[in-house]
């Protein structure tokens, strides 16, 4: 990037942060260098393909921050303070192997609210702050709710083991589909599994050709899984009717108020989602109270399943309809699970969002408007 652009982007990011601070957020400046081990623990091995790793002789493997969320949440947990809202601005770093035209260093500005007092209002607050900060860009909002999906899974007629397996792979649609097909009895298990189950059924020794026990994964762990496989084989398939309802939910696309109607209809047959539907309704009310018209929001049942892996409740994105070639200008959502892991199991409600400043600037240029 040339110097004029780089300076303009950094100033734009700070202007956005100042706006969030003026609305009551506390400015924070998280570290750029973060322990790689912690990020891998949170995000999984895939983060290595996206973040820059560097080596420090004393501190071990470090990563250049791929986003602000973890740094801000860590800062909050370390301080051990009550409800807080934070604002930040600065560069983030991403490898762009698949798309070398995207910048690997760019400015983000955002807000994180760590406050469990009124979750619906905190979500509406973050959304409204982002909508207001990007108003001149004419963006369209898409929203989703991972909480609805996990609630729907919890309501299936299935063992806890199967439900946990489905929930774990919510963010990996292909594996999720394969599991659902298997659990619904639409796909038969592989031949080797059938043979193994036969051996167990006839009191044969599954370990007869297994060789010596090596490695950290113990014989007890293996036999425990064998028992789980037997239990799974004995379990009846998830009823077609329930699979159809889940699929209906995943495919749901409508304006938020109309989606709300359909969700209430779905809840008649899928009562497990009722609490999540109430939260959804409360969120729309909170948005209305903050001056956002829910009729302008597009609900997508599957939104957030492929790209926003750590979000586990409300998710949203703001993007430019005139520039479908660009990624979203804003993405955000609720990430309670991530803060719970960071905080060593202590519950902590968190919701936040970030503006990709360079994408916003690009949209502003296309529209010929001044921003921010």
């Amino acid at each position: 990037m040339n110097q004029t652009d780089a300076l303009a982007q950094a100033e734009a990011a700070r202007a956005l942060r100042d706006r969030f601070v003026a609305a009551g957020a506390v400015p924070v400046e998280p570290d750029i260098l973060m322990p790689a081990e912690m990020l891998i623990e949170l995000y999984g091995e895939d983060i290595r393909a996206r973040a820059y790793t560097c080596a420090d002789p004393l501190r071990g493997e470090l990563m250049l921050r791929p986003d602000f969320t973890v740094g801000v949440a860590q800062h909050h947990l370390a301080k051990g303070q009550g409800p807080s809202r934070y604002a930040y601005a600065g560069p983030v770093f991403r490898q762009q192997e698949a798309d070398p035209d995207r910048p690997s260093e760019y400015q983000q500005a955002g807000v994180e609210i760590l406050d469990g007092t009124d979750p619906a209002d905190a979500e509406a607050d973050v959304f409204a702050a982002m909508a207001e900060a990007t108003a001149p860009l004419g963006l369209r909002a898409a929203i989703g709710d991972i909480g609805l999906l996990t609630a729907a899974i919890s309501g299936l007629t299935a063992s806890d083991v199967r439900k946990a397996a489905l929930t774990r792979h919510l963010w990996r649609p292909r594996r999720f589909r394969a599991l659902l097909d298997r659990f619904a009895g639409r796909k038969s298990p592989p031949a080797a599994r059938t043979r193994l189950l036969e051996t167990l059924e006839t009191d044969g020794d599954p370990f007869s050709d297994a060789g010596p026990q090596i490695g950290l994964r113990s014989r007890e762990e293996i036999t425990a899984r064998l028992s789980r496989l037997q239990a799974d084989a004995a379990e009846p398939p998830i009823p077609d009717r329930e699979v159809a309802l889940l699929e209906q939910l995943l495919a749901l696309r409508d304006t938020a108020p109309a989606a709300g109607e359909q969700l209430r209809d779905l809840a008649v047959d899928l009562p497990a989602i009722l609490p999540a539907v109430s939260k959804f309704t409360a969120r729309l009310d909170a948005l209305t109270a903050r001056g956002v018209d829910p009729g302008t929001l597009e609900f997508e049942g599957s939104y957030g399943r492929t790209t926003l892996e750590y979000y586990d409740g409300f998710v949203f994105g703001l993007s430019a309809p005139s520039r479908p070639d660009l990624p979203s200008v804003v993405t955000g959502g609720r990430y309670d699970a991530l803060t719970r892991v960071l905080g060593g199991g202590a519950p902590c409600r968190a919701v936040g969002a970030a503006v990709r400043v360079h994408i916003g600037s690009e949209v502003a240029r296309t529209r010929g408007v001044q921003w921010p």
């Binding site: 891998i40 623990e41 999984g44 091995e45 895939d46 290595r48 393909a49 192997e97 698949a98 070398p100 397996a165 774990r168 792979h169 990996r172 649609p173 292909r174 594996r175 999720f176 394969a178 592989p190 080797a192 599994r193 193994l196 599954p206 370990f207 050709d209 297994a210 060789g211 010596p212 026990q213 090596i214 490695g215 950290l216 994964r217 014989r219 762990e221 293996i222 425990a224 899984r225 064998l226 496989l229």
Partner: protein
């Protein structure tokens, strides 16, 4: 300017590559002393031989510093990001076969597929408090494969050699490595997952898309391609 052809500088891979070109009427020879990495080409005009370590050929191809190169298809996929944008496969050479596979201890009788490995990883992490470790030197290929397959709760640990021994030495729970007969795996009490074939590798002649190709170079490539086709008939 001549077309630069990169070929492995020693061992079986070099000998077989020389044989392969020789059977197509193109003679590659090492010149100078035993230790000097210089070579000559006869039987086709305007081709220069560049002797390189097989592991460096992917990088040289990607950078366009050589026009053509012979190396394992596994090395190109591992070392070159978005490899098919940087190089093109011209011809598989029919030797240097090896499979990149995922393998787990034979005593894991509950694990036969990648899906089982994923389930075992979830259980392992819950029990041991860290992600199941897979030892490999093929980080890119394995990470991409496992992402495509939707496997979670694993981590890759680097192993540049003797990878099959890492499970017994408790530095990894599973491995991903190259095998041709599977004998080393069996000797170390490991088995290949039934759907754990990540890549079937073979020595391959690659063309560098980013190299500078003059009209003369293109003519040279065309005459080389004609020679290869004649041989195929």
């Amino acid at each position: 300017m001549a077309v630069k052809l990169g070929v492995p500088s020693k061992g079986r891979l070099m000998d077989k590559t020389f044989d392969w070109f020789a059977s197509r009427g193109i003679t590659l020879t090492r010149t100078g002393s035993e230790r000097e990495y210089a070579g000559a080409v006869s039987g086709i005009a305007d081709v220069d031989l560049v002797l390189l370590s097989a592991g460096e050929i992917p990088r040289e191809l990607a950078a366009g510093r050589i026009h053509l190169g012979v190396t394992g298809s596994d090395l190109v996929r591992e070392k070159v990001p978005a490899w098919d944008g940087a190089v093109m496969e011209l011809e598989p050479l029919g030797f240097g076969h090896a499979d990149l596979v995922l393998a787990v201890p034979s005593c894991w009788v509950d694990v036969d597929t990648v899906s089982d490995l994923d389930a075992a990883a979830a259980g392992f992490r819950a029990t041991h408090g860290f992600r199941l470790r897979i030892a490999t030197k093929y980080h890119r290929l394995i990470r991409e494969f496992l992402r495509r397959e939707g496997v979670a709760d694993y981590q890759l640990v680097d192993s540049q050699g003797a990878t099959e021994g890492t499970v017994k030495n408790l530095t990894a729970e599973a491995i991903a490595d190259i095998t041709s007969t599977g004998e080393t795996l069996r000797a170390n009490h490991l088995k290949v997952l039934s759907d754990g074939l990540v890549h079937r590798s073979e020595a391959t002649l690659f063309k560098a898309r980013r190299a500078t190709w003059t009209n003369e170079d293109r003519a040279t490539l065309a005459s080389l391609a004609a020679r290869l086709e004649t041989a195929a008939e």
